[in-house]
């Protein structure tokens, strides 16, 4: 069976279809270049422009003829963008790791070990998908302020941004679904060979599910990289704040060219990460649509 879509190969040879289709392709490509890449390229230009150039004629190509490469290093050092990016990286890495631990072990319990109470657990996790996050924003904040039983105050510690995102029903669900697709014979064979539950988990399930773990990792890194409200609430100490929380404050006190250089630096890493892992990203998003459907 040949790969096809609404247009068949025969259609594509017809002039009355081919010509509008090619024109359409060009127009859509131009539109996407302007809307998708345009703002980012403009930011790159503005990041190395003097303030007056960006303000007076934002569309011109270096109207004063001056290129200020120094903006980037000023933003990096005096604006401490480098430092805040470091915080962001620590936050993203920690929350990704916490998410991975939670969703792989949960997926393993629900999909492979299948205890009798598994259905209850799975139902309780699924139910949280239907409760809007907003109900728990304020109580979650108070929880982090004083964790039940241990009475620890997690604000101004990275735990406050690492742990709550790990309670993601969505991650548990996609990992469980992936584990479900591993042939049961593998587990039986491993058990006959004398492997315990831990051994099956670490040397069979985890290596086999590398693709889905990559997707979870990427999606959780990107979502914690994008987060603003939560770190704003729980990390009031500027030394711990991620770049997303720091940027609006920097914007208030620095000159525009340094501000824009800071924005560019903050954008660079996610975009590079995306371009490198582009396939995994787009697959992850497509997957998420499939799951929700």
């Amino acid at each position: 069976m040949s790969e096809r879509s609404a247009l068949s190969d025969a259609d594509r040879k017809l002039t009355r279809i081919r010509v509008p289709f090619v024109i359409g392709q060009v127009l859509v490509l131009i539109g996407l270049l302007v809307a998708g890449l345009g703002p980012l390229l403009w930011l790159l230009k503005a990041a190395i422009s003097p303030t007056q150039d960006s303000v007076r004629s934002p569309l011109a190509w270096f109207p004063s003829g001056e290129v200020q490469w120094g903006n980037l290093s000023t933003a990096w050092q005096q604006g401490h963008i480098g430092y805040y990016l470091g915080n962001t990286a620590i936050i993203a890495a920690g929350s990704a790791l916490a998410s991975l631990i939670v969703c792989t072990t949960a997926g393993y319990v629900l999909s492979v070990l299948r205890p009798r109470w598994g259905a209850v657990l799975s139902g309780a996790i699924l139910a949280t998908l239907f409760v809007p996050h907003i109900v728990s924003l304020v109580p979650l904040y108070l929880t982090v302020l004083k964790v039940p039983v241990v009475h620890a105050n997690l604000t101004n510690t990275f735990w406050a941004v690492w742990l709550p995102p790990a309670a993601s029903a969505f991650n548990v669900l996609i990992v469980k679904r992936f584990f479900d697709s591993i042939p049961r014979e593998y587990f039986e064979a491993a058990r006959i060979d004398g492997a315990g539950a831990l051994r099956v988990f670490t040397s069979l399930v985890l290596p086999l599910s590398r693709p889905i773990l990559g997707v979870v990792l990427l999606l959780s890194i990107i979502s914690s990289w994008k987060d603003y409200l939560w770190p704003l609430l729980v990390l009031t100490n500027p030394d711990l704040q991620p770049v997303s929380v720091a940027l609006p404050k920097i914007a208030k006190v620095t000159e525009l060219n340094i501000q824009l250089a800071g924005l560019f630096l903050a954008l660079l890493i996610p975009v590079l990460l995306f371009l490198v892992f582009q396939r995994a990203f787009l697959r992850g998003v497509g997957l998420s649509g499939g799951i929700k459907a």
Binding site: G36, C103, T105, A106, V138, P139, A167, L282, G289
Partner: protein
Amino acid sequence: MLFALPVLLVFLVFSWGPIVKGLVMSLQQTNLIDPVKWVGLENFRYVLSDPAVGQASLNTLWFTLLALLFGFPVPLLLAMFLSELRGRSWLYSTLAYLPVITPPVVAILLWRFFYDPSPGGMFNSILGSVGLGPFLWLDSPSSAMPSIVLEATWAGAGNAVIIYLAALTSVRTDLYEAAELDGAGVVRRVWHVMLPHLRSVLLLMLLLQIIGTMQLFTEPLLFTGGGPQGATTTILLLIYNYAFVNGDYGAATALSVLLALALAVVSAVFQLATRGWSTE
């Protein structure tokens, strides 16, 4: 069961616990200083009589409506078009996804600059070259919300494009072949095969978009702080103000519960109204 421990602990403390606590707190008076007092429905009465809540509700609905008008058709048409491409479609989807990758704070601060209301501002000088404007964008109560919607649509459209594209890859190709043998032209193949296949994803995305847009927060906070004249104060911004500016956690959770109830009603009505359409 040692393996269930992480998920149990994390969900108990950070998911199930706060949900229950939120419901309880909406019936209490808490400001973290005085002892907690049980006040029954007092918080709800207070919130419902606050004129700011009425305006915030209207603002939020207005945002949701605009976001659907702007943000729903474009990704759909784009995805339908891209699904016909052979070979270079990765380039198109990568470009469409770039805004989604942009951290919201970066995007907002950048767009705030684009929205400079002076005639020399970015958007004003582009529109000025074809004789339009200058517009006040974020500085006028009537155009502030549409401006926020425009940025939010730019930031979110790529996500929907990728999800529709993924859904379209699973159309059974023999349906197209059958339609073609029956003499259906391209337009009818799109209308009778492609769109029906997307129906369940479309309905779901519609619902998710409504739920998502009703929880708008970062954009109004960073673009306008809720102004001008309260024109962009959303419910979530009000909840934030109740809790973290005024320290009235009871009112904040009461409003959260009301919003959650509204979302639940919207989902339920939506599910009922579309039952029967969503299965192929």
